[in-house]
Structure formats: structure tokens, C-alpha cells
Amino acid sequence: MTKMKKVTYAQAICEAMDEEMARDKNVLLLGEDVGFLGGNFKTAVGLREKYGDLRVKDTPISENSFLGMSLGMALTGLRPIVEIMFSDFLLIAADQLLNQIAKIRYMSGGQVRVPLTIRTTIGAGRSSAAQHSQSLHAIMCHVPGLKVVVPSSAAEAKGLLKTAIREDNPVVFIEHKMEYNHEYEIPEGEYTIPFGKANILREGRDITVVGTSNLALKAVKVADELAKEGIEVEVIDPRTLVPLDRDTIINSVKKTGRILITDEGYERCNIAAEIVMDVMPEVFYYLDVPPERLCLPNVPLPFSPALEFPLIPDQEKLYQKIKKMFKG
């Protein structure tokens, strides 16, 4: 048995960066408030003190250009980690992310590698309104050239982040901001988790639920409840959306005959549609009911909790949605 310890999700992220910085002097971190403050979400506490100002760099509010700078660094021997405080702000840097970073290897005919990790946050539930609550990872999946990681728990986040930092391709690493303060058990010591291998969090024969980010964990809780009612849910955490582990999902649906995907992005053009379409040719004849999805409705996120919470996919909504798939 691996020895476990208790840390928060934010601490797990910090540990991953700390270990990788200690391991490779070419790893550096830049972003807004990552230095003195130790990160807006406390994911970089103590790193500046340990590694110095040049290696843990507080940047001005210039997302497009400091992200572009990280590309210049990656092309010249470094392995930068960039923190973009909210995925909403990645839109400011969309040119560097989607036109430059995602494409430079391809445009150059494979001359270069781009070892670059872009960490950013998603998730609603803090009354942060429409510009600090979005889950925009589907956009990053749409444009070829980026790997996209959506870790669920702290243990997953740590192992996947270490893989991201060692990866010779650009990775967008999506952290869920509602998770930062949650405590989790994580393995002691060094470990990494490979990309493109989904994690079956719970086995079940009746329905496949694919949950991205922390919705995978919520799905497990719902599954525990449904088990009492005789519905056995198989919960899959895809871990990475690019590359996507289709096979694990396909095999699961062949067994269960039902698929529901839950993701906190807006429903329209959600990654759920992509996953369903991706597996459909192989599972169509195995399905008992049409595929379903539980996402954020197509409205901007409102400020008041009275308006916000009813929109966010949560355990209750997931429970209801799954139950419906077993009626009639």
C-alpha cells in the first residue's frame, strides 16, 4: 500500500511545481501574483522564496504578451509554467495560445518542440459573475495543437501536472477553483499520471457517466446513492480531453448501454457533444436510451447565488438526470 497524506488541492498543485522545479532548473513559473503573494489561489506559496525572483516571476497585467514570452522561452531551452488566473482571461491571450503556441511546431514543419504548461482555472459558485466563472476548456480543445488536462482530485492534479511539465508539447492545465481548499488524500512521494488514459473511478453495469474535472468526483457520490436504489453507475474521469481515451469510454458504454456526460462548460458546443459523437459510431447499436449531457445552460453566469447555483451542474441535478434515463 502506498502511504497517503492529506493536502489541499492547491497544495498538491504547489507540490507538483516545487518538485519539478527542484528536478529541472529549466522549469520556471510566471504569472500575475505568483511571486510575493504565492498565487491568487495559493498554488505557489513559498516558491519565490525558494527559487528566486527570476524563476518565479510576477508579471504585469499583460496576458497576451507574457504568454507569448513563455513561447519564446520554450523555444530556447526552458520549460515555462504560466499561470493565467482565470480561464476567462485566456481570451485576452487567445492569439498567443491558439495562433502561436498551438501552431508553431506544425507551421515550422516540426522543427521545434514547445515544452510549455499553461495553468488556468474554471468553475462557478463564488458569486464572481460572468467574467470570472467560465469553464472555457472546450475552446482549447477545438484548436489543434494543445493538450488539454482536466484533473479531478488533488492526487490527480499533482500527478497530471508533473506529466504536463515534463511534456514536450503545449499543455493547458485546467484547475477547478472550487477545489483549491478541499482536502484530499494523495500518495506520499514521487508519481506521475500519463495523458490519454482515462480513470474508471467506480465500476458499474447500468450506465456510463463521464465527468470532467471535479464533476467526476461528484458523479461518484451520486453513484453511491444510486447504488442503494439498485442502479450501478460506472464513473469515468477522462483526465485529458486532448488526447481523449475513447477506448475506455467505448468499452464501458458497450457494457452499460447508457451514456451521460457532465461538464461545467456551456452546453452549446460542449465537449460532451464531442465525446458522444466520437464514440457513437462504435456504441450506437449497444445503446438502450439516447445519450444525455448535463452542462451549464447557455447563459452567462449571474452574480446572485439565487441565480447562479440553479445553473451549475451538481449532484442533485446529476441524480435527477440519471434517474430519468431509467424511466420508461
Binding site: 504585469p60 514570452m69 530556447t76 495562433n99 507551421m107 489543434p144 508539447n169 488526447p243
Partner: protein, 317 residues
């Protein structure tokens, strides 16, 4: 330097030729008239240094010694080109020579160059990065953001604004409060120097000072080379509608190659024969490049799926 300038001119003329013969897919932005800037700047570059180019980048590449054959093959979309036909004229890169790419997005190369400079500082090397961009690019946010960071952190980067007065058809003076780009340097607390961009020696001198400053760890310099684009915005664009005839005439008379040639001869640095030999050699090299490109195969359609990710070529991602 004269040889470099001639090679650039001949290369660009050859582009017009392959374009009119229907051999060239897409477009290319010609550097004709601006050769003195790339040449004067890059004469300071060592093999260790970096440069980031623009959509009008052929001159920068040639001045850094890029392979003419691979360049021409790329422009013609061939497999033997620098980017195996995936980049084309606007995206030629030669990482082995520190050429970190050209760019189809105006102003997008400025932060990339600034990051390479940060990297040099971080690794404690003496490398300098040159960031080329046009006058229109200086109105992008990346110009401000990047120079601000380079100034704050004293990064070893030389910003070279090629002010040819136009962004496609738009005269800089119609869209910019102060069209003297170098003067913006004051706001960042760094030196800003405007230079006659058609005088290769002056460009060389000013860049030399900027390189020394960068290597000493004193930070960036903003150089504005005042120059003129002789041709349209891209090959095939007549570029006539929006220019002042008088102004164009004056600039054409101050052709950087013609004036440098006259000077070399008057000051007896070379004689007519030697110059003609260089010119002949240049034409020969370009002809060979065109031949090589024309005789090169096109890539196979399935190659479109290669080179996206490192080590996972062709994988389903």
C-alpha cells in the same frame, strides 16, 4: 553587406517571377526597398543570437544566412522547404540559426522575441534577440506590453521597427498621433533611436550600440528604421491607390542598394568589376534556388497529419 542586400533583392524579384509564372500558391510580402535594415541589423548577429521575423520576413532570413534553396522551396509549397510546405512565405523558420519564426499575425512576434531574451537572461548567456516588426505592428498591444516588460527586467532584446509608412493601405500618419515610433521609448525609460533605414551603415552602427547595451545587461533599445516599401503590400498588389507620388519618387531615388553601391565605388572600397562579380554571384545563387524549388516534389497529402505534436505524430488527438 552589399552581397546580402543584392541577394535579398534578387530573391524578391525571383518571387515576382515565380508568382507571375503561376508557380507560387498564396501570397508573399516583398522586402524590396527595405534591404538595408535587415542587412545592417543582422550584420551584428552571431550564430548564438536569436531573431523573430514578420510576414515580410524573407530579408531577415537571408540576412541571417538562411538557406536560399529551402526558402524558395517553402515559398513554392514543396516538401524540401524549411517547413515541408506547411508554413509558406509567412512562416519560414530556421531554428538551427536562431530564427524563431515569422508571423502571420501582425505584432505577435514581439512577445515571443521578448521571451527568448528572458530565456537568455535566465540561462546567463550573452545572447541577444532581435525583434523585427512593422510600423503598423507598433500599434498592437503586444508592442506596449512586451517593451514594458523588457524595460522593467532589462532584457537583452533589440526592437527594430521597420517604418515603411504603411500598413497595407493605411498611412501611419492617418492613424497614429505621433508617427515617430522611436520617441515612444521615452515612455518606457529605454533608448529610442530613429535611423535612416535606407542607409545600411547607419543601421549597422545604431544596432551595434544596441547590441552592446543588451550584452552588458543594460536592457532593450528601440530602433526605428525609416524606410519605404517599393512594391505593393504583397506580390500582385500594385500598391498605387494610397501613396503620394512625390513621396514615392523621393524614396525610390534613395534606393538603399543603389546608394550603397555608388558609395562603395566613390569611396573606392570596391571597383565596378568586383561589384559586378558579386551581383552575378547573387543572381546565380537565386537562380539555383528557384531551380531547386521548381524541381522539388510537393508533400504527400497524408503529411498534413504530421508535425502537430512531438512524438505522437499522426496520433488521434
Amino acid at each position: 553587406m552589399y552581397f546580402t542586400m543584392t541577394k535579398i533583392r534578387d530573391f524578391e524579384n525571383a518571387i515576382t517571377d515565380v508568382y507571375s509564372r503561376g508557380l507560387m500558391p498564396g501570397l508573399a510580402h516583398l522586402y524590396i526597398g527595405e534591404e538595408a535594415i535587415a542587412t545592417g541589423v543582422c550584420a551584428n548577429i552571431t550564430s548564438q543570437d536569436y531573431a523573430v521575423s514578420t510576414h515580410r520576413g524573407h530579408g531577415h532570413l537571408i540576412a541571417q544566412g538562411a538557406d536560399l534553396k529551402k526558402m524558395m522551396a517553402e515559398v513554392l509549397g514543396r516538401k524540401t522547404g524549411y517547413c515541408k510546405g506547411k508554413g509558406g512565405s509567412m512562416h519560414i523558420m530556421d531554428i538551427s540559426k536562431g530564427i524563431l519564426g515569422a508571423n502571420g499575425i501582425v505584432g505577435a512576434g514581439i512577445p515571443i522575441a521578448t521571451g527568448a531574451a528572458y530565456s537568455a537572461k535566465y540561462r546567463g548567456t550573452e545572447q541577444v534577440t532581435v525583434s523585427f516588426f512593422g510600423d503598423a505592428a507598433s500599434n498592437q498591444g503586444t508592442f506596449h506590453e512586451s517593451i514594458n516588460m523588457a524595460a522593467a527586467w532589462k532584457l537583452p532584446v533589440v526592437y527594430v521597427c521597420e517604418n515603411n509608412l504603411f500598413g497595407i493601405s493605411v498611412d501611419l500618419r492617418r492613424v497614429t498621433g505621433n508617427p515617430n515610433i522611436a520617441e515612444r521609448a521615452i515612455a518606457y525609460g529605454i533608448p529610442g533611436v530613429a535611423v535612416d533605414g535606407n542607409d545600411v551603415l547607419e543601421v549597422y552602427q545604431v544596432t551595434h550600440t544596441a547590441f552592446l547595451r543588451a550584452r552588458k545587461g543594460e536592457g532593450p533599445t528601440l530602433i526605428e528604421g525609416k524606410t519605404y516599401r517599393h512594391k505593393g503590400h504583397h506580390v500582385g498588389d500594385p500598391g498605387t491607390a494610397y501613396r503620394l507620388e512625390e513621396e514615392k519618387k523621393a524614396w525610390m531615388e534613395r534606393d538603399p542598394i543603389k546608394t550603397f553601391r555608388e558609395r562603395l565605388i566613390t569611396e573606392k572600397i570596391v571597383n565596378e568589376q568586383e561589384i559586378e562579380d558579386l551581383e552575378k554571384e547573387s543572381r546565380k545563387l537565386i537562380e539555383e534556388a528557384v531551380q531547386f524549388a521548381e524541381n522539388s516534389p510537393f508533400p504527400e497529402p497524408e503529411e498534413a497529419f504530421e508535425d502537430l505534436f512531438y512524438e505522437t505524430e499522426g496520433a488521434e488527438v
